[in-house]
Symmetry: C2
């Protein structure tokens, strides 16, 4: 006799640099950081993401994404990873979005999956190999600048889950 | 006896791909372009800027800028160029900004200077060697993602103008 597997429920927590550190970078204008340029008319924050885009003949690729909003609860059917490169998502609107990640590795332990809710304006940069869900916009159609890798090699793996995982509010 | 040089006045025109082609790329979601991804939940435009960031040991560098607005008329005292790399400015707000450019070359002919007013959401990517003014936000403080080059070499030249050049409305 089989017993039904319990649905794993994942609840997002606010995105912070500390909590996201195992997965990559939070892209934001960090208070207390940066420096003045252009005669003081601009403030500049450098290295807001550890870009890793040029391994094995890779070149940086700038894309724009327009994403329809998702509705919670949402079934997380799979995560993807880019083993050869980082991938950065910079929001072009001031709307929050959802981030679902799991640590690098050949397998994904469902209890290691984490979900984060961005603050308006925060972006993320997934480190190479970090498992992540495709964009999950909230509330309304949202635009993003995306910085990834163009290269000669296949650079996207998918991991489909055997048991249901649900992202809840 | 010296005569005073007439002030050269430059008036911005709307930013279009055609008009900006000699200077680089207009970064925008071009209608009719792009393709569906992620099961149709996102629309993706690739290669929205011809990134040129890895010459001579260069690596892509992602920065964030917060810029105070300028007031017109504005004296354009100098332009700068990055001979070894492109530099892309993606607005993180939906506000227009001003772009002042001149073609690549050791000298700048004042009559070759062009000024453009972006539409909300449009960004620009200056091709390597294109002379350009630092960010000129309008109306209120504006944020940008900036994609440039980190490298071992000096990569910024300035050209100061002998005669006044004024950017007008």
């Amino acid at each position: 006799m089989q017993t039904a597997a319990a649905t794993l429920q994942i609840r997002p927590t606010p995105l912070t640099r500390e909590a996201f550190a195992p997965f990559g970078d939070v892209i934001e204008m960090q208070p207390g950081g940066g420096y003045a340029i252009n005669g003081g008319t601009s403030w500049r924050w450098d290295d807001v993401a550890a870009l890793d885009l040029t391994r094995e003949g890779g070149q940086p690729l700038l894309s724009l994404f327009r994403t329809e909003p998702c509705q919670l609860p949402l079934t997380i059917a799979f995560l993807e990873r880019h083993p050869l490169s980082s991938q950065a998502f910079v929001p072009l609107s001031q709307r929050p979005f959802l981030v679902v990640v799991a640590p690098p590795g050949e397998q994904i332990k469902p209890s290691d999956i984490r979900a984060f809710l961005t603050a308006p304006g925060q972006g993320v940069n997934y480190a190479a190999g970090v498992w992540h869900h495709p964009l999950l916009a909230l509330h309304s159609s949202s635009d993003f600048a995306v910085l990834g890798r163009r290269g000669p090699d296949e650079n996207c793996d998918l991991h489909h889950f055997d048991h249901p995982i649900t992202l809840v509010q």
